[in-house]
């Protein structure tokens, strides 16, 4: 038995320490995160006859729809376009599910939160990790596309994990900013559902960065569009696969690199400050 001095159950809040405290709690609960991820994956796939095959089958079916729509019906000149859309759908799908799930993470786990003192960021982190695993499995569908389009993997492939990580950190951090407020104002969950639905169209899912440059490259709207933090990560996912060398403006790259980090820092500070206070409202 440990013998020592009494320590406060709820240490004083510190802005500087918050991002580190959040990570320390995560690293000391990795076994729990692993078990929660396994539980969530089981819940999603184990009852289905095809099980985990659905993680690949779902994007494969989507891909066939895009192929018929864009290549056969619309006769799109860019042969890689269905693959671009597919990558956009996979990347955006992960981003929106993590964002909505994190915003709802306290409300959706109220039963467990009121019975255990697990660090509360674990719920959203396990959800984000589950989505990360699903995304990685879904990306396997790109391999048949690469073979069909005769695309050889290049050194640019390093951008794929980095882009996925940037999307994950941005959505998790941004969700953490609003998770506590959503307990008191559940309208936020509805607002975020709308934002992610609208975001599908204002993010490069159905369109590409090149299309944006051609249509609005010299205008004020280009800079407005580039404020969307997912433009560069989603585009880099495509470049990682087709080997294109990125030619972004430095300021846009800097913005895309800082946004996930700042989202996480601000999210961890706000979450640390307010999450325990709202437990009585759950």
């Amino acid at each position: 038995m440990k013998v020592g001095a009494l320590r406060p159950m709820h240490p004083e809040f510190s802005i500087v320490k918050s991002p580190f405290t959040l990570m320390a709690a995560v690293s000391s609960n990795l076994y729990l995160v692993k078990n929660l991820v396994r539980r969530d994956l089981n819940h999603k796939y184990k009852n289905a006859i095809l099980g985990y095959v659905w993680t690949i089958l779902e994007p494969a079916l989507l891909a066939s729809v895009y192929y018929v729509l864009f290549i056969i019906i619309a006769n799109h000149s860019e042969p890689n376009y269905p693959m671009y859309v597919l990558l956009g759908v996979i990347g955006w799908g992960m981003f929106s599910r993590i964002l909505n799930g994190t915003v709802n993470s306290l409300s959706n786990n109220s039963g467990m939160i009121k019975q255990t003192n697990i660090p509360m960021q674990i719920y959203s982190l396990s959800l984000a990790t589950t989505q990360f695993v699903i995304t990685c499995l879904s990306l396997l569908i790109v391999i048949p596309f690469m073979i069909h389009l005769e695309i050889t993997p290049t050194a640019n492939l390093w951008m794929l994990p980095l882009s996925i990580f940037a999307l994950m950190l941005t959505s998790w951090g941004f969700g953490l900013i609003f998770a506590s407020a959503n307990v008191v104002f559940p309208d936020l969950a509805h607002l975020f559902r709308f934002i992610t639905k609208a975001g599908f169209f204002v993010s490069p899912v159905m369109w590409t960065y090149e299309m944006l440059v051609v249509r609005a490259g010299d205008t004020f709207y280009f800079d407005i569009a580039m404020l969307n933090p997912v433009v560069i990560p989603l585009t880099c996912m495509r470049y990682a696969i087709d080997g294109t060398t990125p030619e972004f403006e430095f300021v846009h790259v800097l913005y895309a690199a800082l946004f996930p980090v700042l989202s996480y820092i601000i999210g961890s500070i706000i979450f640390q400050k307010y999450s325990r206070r709202v437990v009585t409202s759950l």
């Binding site: 038995m1 440990k2 013998v3 020592g4 001095a5 009494l6 320590r7 406060p8 159950m9 709820h10 609960n29 076994y31 729990l32 692993k34 078990n35 929660l36 396994r38 539980r39 089981n42 819940h43 184990k46 009852n47 039963g111 467990m112 939160i113 009121k114 019975q115 255990t116 003192n117 697990i118 008191v184 325990r276 206070r277 437990v279 009585t280 409202s281």
Partner: protein, 244 residues
């Protein structure tokens, strides 16, 4: 004897539902310097308590007297609006047995899942798995999905995992009545063993006989306040007097 858990001037409020208009009005008033608090009811008021290492404390009171809320404040689940909770050692709350277990996972997988939810490491759970299976008497079903279990079997698995722990401070919230009579007796014996191992225990129960037998001190809660602290005989007799 050293103090392992201390509650100092604790106040806890539960917020009441507030309309958006009233929320906005309150915020505007605050902006202009007028003080106004959000609508709430007081769940705990003026709680001062020191628990020493090795003590077994029983908590009684009518339904709604905030007994469970007191345990949740001690466990760190609720943060008090005022006052401080200080602790020395690990603390574990036994409440809602089987929390977070999944129907599609096997009994064995659920042992690890529930164990990790209770805050235990992989090493701890690996070393306790055989003991848990033996205690739950589910050897033949342990690799079957939980959805194939009866509610009694699920309860047995849950309590077997929950009682495999040896925290420094153990908080028990009326979980002694789970399972069939035979298993209930076995669980009670196990919890008594846990109490011996944990040294410091706070238990909420309506079983006055059990409390009288095991507790060093007892607390009677009334409307969110500690009404009496004293010896089990004294507190139970006062409770019976008040309740008629």
């Amino acid at each position: 004897m050293s103090t392992v858990l201390e509650l100092d001037q604790i106040i806890l409020d539960y917020p009441k539902k507030e309309s958006f208009g009233s929320f906005l009005k309150r915020k505007v008033m605050r902006f202009f310097g007028k003080k106004g608090s959000a609508p709430h009811y007081r769940a705990l008021e003026d709680i001062n308590l020191s628990i020493n290492r090795g003590e077994v404390i029983g908590v009684i009171g009518r339904n709604g007297s905030s007994k469970s809320t007191l345990l949740k404040i001690m466990a760190g689940i609720y943060a008090p609006n005022q006052g401080t909770v200080s602790i020395d050692g690990d603390i574990s709350l036994l409440s809602g047995v089987g929390l977070g277990m999944n129907q599609n996972l096997t009994g064995r997988e659920n042992i690890h899942l529930y164990g990790s939810i209770l805050g235990h490491s992989k090493q701890t759970m690996d070393s306790l798995t055989d003991e848990i299976i033996q205690f739950s008497e589910l050897h033949d079903f342990i690799d079957e999905p939980l959805r194939t279990y009866s509610s009694g079997m699920k309860a047995r698995l849950g309590i077997a995992v929950a009682t495999a722990v040896k925290p420094d401070i153990l908080l028990i919230d009326e979980v002694l009545g789970v399972g069939d009579p035979g298993f209930k007796k076995k669980s009670q014996e196990k919890i008594r063993k846990m109490m011996d191992d944990s040294n410091t225990v706070v238990i909420v129960s309506h079983s006055f006989g059990l409390l009288k037998e095991i507790c060093d001190r007892m607390i009677m809660m009334e409307k969110g306040r500690i009404r009496i602290i004293g010896s089990p005989e004294e507190v139970i007799s006062k409770y019976n007097e008040i309740e008629g």
